[in-house]
């Protein structure tokens, strides 16, 4: 079986892929695009490795007059960054697991045409995308009703579902899980849970990986929840640490009348950029973990083992 497929795939290979000339053109165009995407980040990284005095004097440059590790020394000297990293990691992992579970089950039921409440639940999940109670509404629910002030759950629970991801996932289920498959399983006497776990989940891995990635990004980038729900800097996730620095700089440089009392302690530009680099790298490193579910689509499809 395996062999047969392989030979079939190989013989069809010249149809299964673009011409070498198109390949070259596409590779180059994508290369340019990728270059444009990465240039600003490289600039940010270079700034983080420059001496803050040379930034003050000459502005940003791809070729700084003076390299320096001072920003990273400051960033790592304080144990805060490691603590923040730990919190971000815990929040992201727990949140992503809960979120994937909640959304995949919910979206799965939406994809089942025989489900009687499907229509209602569809609308039920679209409304929150359009109407939201805003910051005050959420604040009262999290703080007064759920009493989650200063709890790590206040940073996890409010973000674990999103209409967008549910709809993405629902569309995936509809595209990749044939109704006939479910019906035949049903006839074979499989329960809904068995169908969901044994048939649906394995078939929809790319979709799950997509929303898992979105959840990861959402949690990793979130800082507003921490700003609102955490007092006394008890839990400072990585992004929040960065936003704190940026907001402080922004605030103090536009409110000069505040009194100059504390501007001396402001993080320099190089330190802020170093935190950008430090907070972005973990996700970039984690990315390939999700990537293996998206890549290798069509062309290798025929020869995939």
């Amino acid at each position: 079986m395996k062999d047969e497929k392989k030979t079939l795939g190989e013989s069809l290979n010249r149809f299964g892929r673009v011409t070498p000339k198109s390949n070259r053109i596409l590779t180059i165009l994508l290369g340019i695009l990728s270059f444009l995407s990465v240039v600003p980040f490289i600039l940010v990284a270079i700034i983080s490795f420059s001496s803050s005095m040379s930034i003050k004097k000459y502005g940003y440059s791809f070729f700084p007059k003076q390299w320096s590790l001072e920003a990273y020394q400051t960033v790592f000297a304080d144990g805060q960054i490691f603590k923040s990293f730990g919190y971000s990691l815990v929040i992201t992992v727990i949140g992503t697991i809960i979120g994937v579970f909640l959304m995949s089950t919910y979206a799965y039921t939406l994809s089942r045409k025989t489900y009687a409440y499907r229509g209602f639940l569809n609308k039920f999940s679209v409304m929150p995308m359009l109407f939201s109670g805003g910051m005050i509404g959420s604040y009262i629910v999290v703080i007064n009703i759920l009493q989650l002030r200063n709890s790590i759950w206040s940073l996890i629970l409010p973000l674990c579902m999103s209409t967008f991801s549910i709809m993405v996932l629902r569309t995936f289920y509809q595209m990749s899980v044939p109704d006939a498959l479910i019906e035949s399983a049903y006839i074979d006497g499989a329960s809904e849970w068995q169908i969901y776990f044994k048939i649906i989940l394995p078939l929809s891995l790319p979709g799950l990986a997509t929303i898992a990635l979105f959840l990861t990004l959402g949690y990793w980038n979130d800082w507003l929840s921490a700003l609102l729900y955490i007092d006394d800097n008890k839990i400072v996730p990585l992004q929040y640490l960065l936003i704190k620095m940026q907001n402080n700089v922004e605030f103090l440089s536009t409110n000069t009348s505040v009194g100059v009392a504390q501007t001396g302690n402001l993080p320099t530009e190089t330190i802020r950029m170093a935190v950008v680099v430090v907070s972005t790298l973990p996700v970039l490193i984690a990315y390939p973990f999700f990537q293996k579910y998206f890549i290798g689509g069509l062309t290798v499809g025929a020869v995939k083992e």
Binding site: K56, M135, N144, V249, S257, V258, G259, V260, G264
Partner: protein
């Protein structure tokens, strides 16, 4: 429709749940022998030794005032948003810092909205507190005849100062103390530009060509150099117009940096400059020197003016939903009248953060950097010890400065904007369209002023001016 009904049902359940949690709270602890615990929110970079100082403060105030407190320090960049949400959602807290320059947690708006406790009676009953603070502070903090906070006694006026680079002032022998107008300034800009080859005047995006004016609604208010009882747009005053025209001229001549509308105050570091400006107190020279990394001398650009907004530059309020109004006020009063407490809050612990070198002079110790807070988060400056290097009569100087400052005719009057909110929202937008470019000389002032005027009128500025004028007249009559 069905969906809407269902959604409404859920909302109703939610509201019921909310009401339940809200009612479930027990009444306040009435046992008077036990110390009452208070929470206090202050603004600023959270200090490493805050907990330590907090502990020492409690040790001192518990036997003396029978209260304890938790100080919550929230970072500059998030204080406004966090406290605004806290207030709008009706949370309980006891003491907090508010002031005129915050947005969501602004003193005037939140007092009007009901976020703060009315403390008029408490203050009236306490002659010690009332007498300790200059009456203009109290006037400025009064809204519709009521007091909602205790202003920190610091510099009473928000005056913009010329900040001069001392090295160049000495080199060219510039009589900086006599320079107030742009005309007086020009020859020196010219000379220094020619001889040093630098752009002499560093202007940043927040520069506003200060004139003696009390702005009450967007840029509308009272001109203290003209008819003091007539509401006018500051941008329509002759003095302001001539200033922006000169500013444009200076930009063209290369006296002022071309990128002024894009740079912030801190960008001054690393540049070569002769003069710049900032809002400050006459005693702040040393701090400016620290942050700008240059030795400086300063002189005020205008006479000092007291407005509501400048008098409430740092105010401590009591949350409207507090369970312990009396105790909160007791602590607030103590902070402003008990020198030992004020010094502890502002400077830290004696023998740890500072050591005493005389009766009322101190010297910083190395732990000082673990606890530096703006003193106006707490209260009365005049109870503070003198830091090393500060003049021993600094509070006398400040006191005199505050007494000499000209009071705006509208001090104590506050504009109720509820009838003209739409117009003000539109005017704020027009203002932000022209503010930076016009003030920094980045555009031709003639056309920009004309355009701005046209747009302001379209936004409804006349209605706002009339409303302001009529409210002011009424207030004036009843306050004769």
């Amino acid at each position: 429709m069905k969906l809407v009904k269902k959604a409404l049902g859920i909302v109703a359940i939610g509201m019921a749940a909310l009401a339940l949690t809200a009612c479930g709270k027990g009444s306040a602890n009435n046992d008077s022998s036990k110390p009452v615990h208070l929470t206090w929110y202050i603004d600023g970079t959270p200090q490493k030794d805050l907990k330590k100082v907090n502990k020492a403060v409690n040790k001192y105030i518990e036997p003396k005032y029978n209260v304890t407190v938790t100080l919550n320090q929230i970072d500059w960049g998030e204080y406004d948003q966090k406290m605004g949400t806290l207030a709008n959602s009706g949370q309980k807290y006891d003491l907090a810092f508010s002031c005129s320059w915050l947005q969501s947690y602004n003193y005037l708006n939140n007092a009007r909205k009901g976020s703060f406790l009315d403390i008029t009676k408490y203050v009236d009953d306490s002659s010690k507190l009332k007498g300790a603070i200059n009456k203009n502070f109290w006037k400025g903090a009064t809204i519709d005849g009521k007091l909602y906070g205790v202003p920190a006694q610091k510099e009473i006026s928000a005056t913009e100062f010329f900040v001069w680079n001392k090295a160049l002032v000495d080199k060219y022998n510039i009589p900086y103390k006599k320079i107030q107008t742009y005309a007086q300034l020009e020859p020196w800009l010219k000379e220094v530009k020619e001889k040093e080859g630098i752009t002499p005047w560093f202007v940043n995006e927040s520069y506003s060509n200060p004139t003696e004016f009390d702005q009450l609604a967007v840029t509308d208010g009272f001109d203290l150099e003209g008819n003091k009882n007539k509401v006018i747009d500051r941008y329509d005053t002759k003095k302001f117009q001539s200033k922006v025209k000169t500013m444009r001229d200076f930009v063209k001549k290369g006296y002022v940096n071309k990128d002024a509308s894009l740079v912030t105050a801190n960008d001054v570091v690393g540049r070569k400059w002769l003069v710049s400006s900032t809002q400050m107190s006459p005693l702040d020279t040393a701090t400016i020197k620290d942050t700008w990394k240059t030795d400086v001398v300063v002189s005020p650009m205008t006479d000092s003016v007291v407005t509501n907004s400048s008098a409430t530059g740092g105010t401590t309020v009591i949350g409207a939903n507090t369970d312990h109004p009396k105790e909160a006020f007791k602590l607030l009063k103590a902070v402003n009248t008990d020198p030992k407490l004020m010094n502890m809050l502002a400077y830290g612990i004696e023998g740890v953060h500072y050591k005493k070198t005389g009766k009322d002079t101190i010297k910083w110790m190395s732990a000082h950097e673990r606890y530096t807070v703006p003193f106006y988060m707490f209260g009365n400056y005049f109870n503070l010890y003198h830091q090393d290097g500060a003049s021993a009569d600094e509070w006398k100087i400040l006191k005199k400065y505050n007494e000499d400052a000209k009071a705006s005719p509208a001090l104590g009057f506050s504009f109720d904007t509820s009838k003209v909110t739409s117009q003000i929202a539109a005017m704020q937008n027009v203002d932000s369209e022209f503010k930076k470019t016009l003030n920094t000389g980045s555009v031709d002032p003639e056309t920009a002023l004309a355009n701005r005027d046209k747009k302001m009128k379209a936004a409804g500025s006349e209605k706002v001016i009339n409303e302001l004028q009529s409210q002011y007249n009424k207030w004036k009559k009843s306050n004769k």
